[in-house]
């Protein structure tokens, strides 16, 4: 896998042109259509963007991402290019505007290869709730790639793009990154604008990079981060995400939360992550045991908050202004109810119902308000943890990628599998997943590093130190 720094050098030295690079990736996408990574491939647009990028490079004006072919998750609005959220509801929707992240990437002159498949409306951890392409894991095509940003993870792992964007509401960047043997990062809530990211759980959603290295993630974050007048939750900050690259980790403290190493975590995953801790210790970092007693409420708090927000956010899909519309409705009420019932898949409907339940009269205090209280406690607990350590080390997921048919019909089992990732979203902190080898069945294992809010550069530093010594696993395609 070529990282972005090497590609930049090759493009600037004219060893390869952006058009040639784009054609190579388009060919690979076409050869690997069976992996189901993309809902839309923008061949013509990509080649035009590559031609423009080559001109910019020839003029000596290249930015870090000029001419770099990227894949974009299909819930990030791309003007006049379909943005389907892998849903029948938005199957024909072509946004009339670009998301802020796309404006920023386009300003650097990236090449958009296409839109990657995902769980419908980012709701799921397998990418199999997609109503369009159903992505498969390039390490074993009988296994899921994880989700919800499964298509982006597959595209990076299979070498179908140089890097990709995903979105992360409860682990949707980090868990598929872990399942597919790549690096994926959720930045601190508020660092990247959510304008143009189709809303799921607005207080939890963040756009994040998926790439071949932590350094690549930092390059992409440097391009897309920043306060945006279109997103009132985006924060003013001056983070250089790669500022700490190459710095020694000697003397820094790594928190090991004991609750993340219990019986629910697969033995091979646990051992692999413990080896990562030992590696950091051998470089002079100090391991400290920390505790997160509120973890037992993480799944319920996350699903109550995310679904409450989703039930509100998804009320905009009424079959009137855009999106799917049922045929021959007899009344306005029927138009809305049938359009939504036919346009949304089963998992989306379950989450809307759960969110409505949590917000409805008589249940609001017992569920939604309780979840808000747990969120406050989570933030407090994380603040206390990061007084004792610089980063926290956990598995990225309780298991490696599982068989396509094994979990996906049991919503409760699926929800419980998110336990390693949702805490970072609830607390609003940055977290990165990095591959740490494979299990006995040759499936990738990932570990996660998190830090206090706006300390994103710290986890990139630690991840980079590990990647300098251990190569990512490679898929056999």
């Amino acid at each position: 896998m070529t990282n972005l720094t090497e590609l930049r050098k090759k493009l600037d030295n004219k060893e390869i042109s952006s058009v040639e690079l784009t054609k190579e990736y388009l060919k690979k996408i076409s050869e690997n259509e069976a992996l189901g990574a993309f809902n839309t491939v923008c061949e013509d647009e990509a080649l035009k963007m590559a031609e423009l990028a080559d001109k910019t490079i020839a003029e000596g004006n290249s930015a870090p991402l000029t001419g770099i072919p990227m894949a974009i998750k299909d819930n990030i609005c791309t003007k006049d290019i379909k943005t389907t959220c892998s849903s029948k509801m938005l199957a024909e929707y072509a946004p009339p505007y670009n998301a802020t992240v796309m404006e920023k990437l386009n300003a650097q002159g990236i090449v958009t290869l296409g839109k990657t498949s995902m769980d419908e409306f980012a709701m799921g951890g397998s990418s199999q709730t997609s109503a369009l392409a159903k992505p498969k894991n390039p390490f074993d095509t009988n296994c899921v790639p994880g989700g919800s940003s499964g298509g982006s993870a597959v595209a990076v792992a299979a070498g179908l793009c140089a890097a990709a964007l995903g979105s992360d509401t409860g682990g949707s960047v980090r868990q598929p990154a872990s399942f597919c043997g790549i690096t994926g990062m959720k930045p601190t809530y508020g660092t990247v604008s959510r304008y143009g990211l189709v809303a799921f759980g607005s207080s939890l959603d963040q756009i994040g990079p998926m790439a071949n290295s932590a350094q690549d993630c930092g390059i992409i974050l440097n391009a897309i981060a920043g306060q945006d007048i279109h997103d009132g939750t985006s924060r003013r900050h001056n983070i250089d995400f790669n500022a700490l690259l190459g710095q020694d980790i000697k003397g820094l403290k790594i928190g090991i939360p004991k609750e993340f190493y219990g019986d629910g975590i697969d033995g091979e995953v646990k051992n692999a992550v413990i080896k990562v801790a030992d590696f950091y210790k051998s470089l002079g970092a100090e391991l400290v045991e920390v505790s997160m007693p509120t973890l037992k409420y993480a799944i319920s708090a996350y699903y109550l908050l995310a679904c409450a927000e989703a039930s509100t956010n998804l009320s905009r899909y009424d079959g009137v202004k855009y999106g799917y519309r049922t045929e021959s409705p007899e009344s306005y009420d029927e138009l809305i109810k049938k359009s939504r019932a036919e346009g949304f898949g089963a998992e989306v409907k379950r989450r809307i119902l759960l969110g409505t339940y949590a917000l409805s009269s008589g249940y609001y205090d017992a569920y939604y308000k309780k979840a808000l209280a747990v969120r406050q406690q989570f933030r407090l607990e994380h603040d206390q943890i990061f007084e004792k350590c610089d980063v926290m080390l956990t598995p990225s997921a309780p298991t490696v990628a599982y068989g396509i048919d094994s979990n996906i019909n049991d919503p409760v089992k699926m929800y419980l599998a998110d336990v390693c990732t949702v805490t970072a979203n609830i607390a609003g902190i940055p977290a990165i997943s990095v591959p740490c080898g494979v299990n006995s069945a040759n499936m990738p294992i990932g570990f996660s590093l998190s830090a206090k809010r706006f300390d994103d550069a710290r986890i990139i530093q630690f991840a980079d130190v590990y990647e300098k010594s251990f190569a990512h696993p490679t898929a056999n395609i």
């Binding site: 007048i229 699903y303 202004k321 855009y322 007899e330 109810k337 409907k349 119902l353 209280a373 409760v412």
Partner: protein, 94 residues
Amino acid sequence: MLSMDNLKLLCELSKLHLSEDEMKEYQKEMTDIINLMDTIGDSDFEYNPIDMTNAVSFGELRGDNITEFDNMEGIVKNGPEVIANQFVVPKIVD
């Protein structure tokens, strides 16, 4: 077990039309999901509405000004049924 009446009310509030067979399926699934959510009842934390840990200062917000969206054509193009730049819906008032 989530009662059928309660589920019907949720469907009405959520504006989702479900068939009888679907209702039976959802009743079981939603009961399992709500049972999982019930674990939050064991926590004894109190929500403090004053503690706005993620609040953005007003100085950082944009002015409350009306601006014209520059791609009205793009908006209308996505409408399932549009006549003369208007979204068409079934008759509401007789």
